[in-house]
């Protein structure tokens, strides 16, 4: 995500796409949560991840650490 996020227009588009019926009274809080998520997305967009690699299968395991697991071997 590089462009400025517009919570209002995103809300309008996605509400229909996802078949969600959202009461007008709920909308301000949903917009606020969308804006928070957009801030979070901006943060992760800046991480220097390797290109041409997804490695999603690796993300579900807790992994190992050399020193602290020395007793396991």
């Amino acid at each position: 995500m590089t462009k400025k996020f517009d919570a209002e227009s995103h809300f309008t588009a996605m509400q229909n796409t996802m078949d969600l019926t959202i009461d007008a009274a709920w909308k301000p809080m949903v917009l606020q949560h969308l804006s928070i998520a957009a801030e979070m997305a901006q943060l992760i967009n800046n991480t220097p991840l390797p290109e041409n690699e997804l490695a999603l299968a690796n993300t579900f395991f807790a992994g190992e650490a050399k020193r602290a697991n020395r007793d396991d071997t």
Partner: protein
Amino acid sequence: MTMTHTPEQGCWQQHLDALRLFDKQINSFSAILDKRLMQQIAQAKPAQAANSSAPLAGFSFGVKNLFDVKDQITLAGSKINRDLPQAAADAVLIQRMEAAGARLIGCLNMGEFAYDFTGENSHYGNCNNPHDLSRMSGGSSSGSAAAVAAGLVRVALGSDTNGSIRVPASLCGVFGLKPTYGRLPRSGTFPFSDSLDHLGPLARSASDLARVFDCLQGYHPGDPACQNRPVLHSHEQLPQGLANLKIAKLGGYFDTEGFPEAAAAMEKVCQALQVADTVLPKGVSEGRAAAYLITNVEGSALHLRRLQTRPQDFDPDTRDRFLAGAMLPAQWYARAQQTRLWFKQHMLSLFTKHDILLAPASPFCAPKQGEKTFLLRGEPKLLRPNLGYFTQPISAIGLPSVVVPTWDEPSKLPIGVQIIAAPWREDLCLRVAAALEQQGFAFIKPPHFFESESR
């Protein structure tokens, strides 16, 4: 017809009667299981009696009401789940607790669908903090922490996706363990975010926490995330204390500037452990952001059909977050999972030099119920998504973490500190927790409400 009780049944019944009385003020239980308990005692063989040598003989426990309990509806703190059929069997961890001699006495309240750090619930009422009934218990394992803090159960089971064991443990002043991701099977529990969901115990001492953890371990094929690891005998290792452990404090993102209660708790624990090193981990904000997005997307995906058909039946505080999560771009989710791996690699490198890392468990002591915002690094932020500011980055990458209770002197309220280790080294966290308890730096206190109740 009057039921005649055996002596053991009579003891337990007295306990349940007292529990009912005290819980009127706390609201930690959603169901008290008298009938099940009495039947189990009646059917127990002599070797299973309370004085047997089973490791958890005599332990009472409760479970967050997202655990399946045979013949009970698994509410997960919601109104919506009332439409589900009763559970056909107990969750695997309940079976393990009972096999070890513990007695299940009830189901415990929680934040709706576990999307909560406050302990507030619009369907079943707020779970009150036993140390100040006007304050939050923390969530989402609110009933688990509050019931343990009030002494209504000896131990409880909870779940932790972003801090839902550790935040209420901190606010209620009890010991809590979030094990390594994949350590304990989640079979027979209502999910929230599969990539991040953990189960774990809360207890009144580090020793009880270790004893329960040892009985809960073991592979189970019912949970694809569960890893087949050697079982740790952590209770046996508690006497090793701090021997040969290198301990450091986490700085940077985890700095306590602006949070005097958390700062005092950290200082107390660091002094007790003679910690001089501070390490500055990289990428914590990004790791936490990844957990935030993964939770939001996975939780919303789980509930999408209900969000489309009956949004009015959700707790408003969770509904609005789930609705937002249902609208997030898929690319954000994929990037969040990648970022989580990147952050994990950075964090694991810290364990080449240190065995234990310390961090606050919550930014402050229990807030007053109904509070919606707080100042985070000078900026006003919503309370509900941010009470787990210090816990969320740790569960994002599945590290084991034990919360120990300390006490804020001005307010007389509890606040916890996280003891974090490398994956699969819960034993080290528990050794440090036990050492702090032995030295008198981490301990539980009886709740204030007992004083007014007895007048």
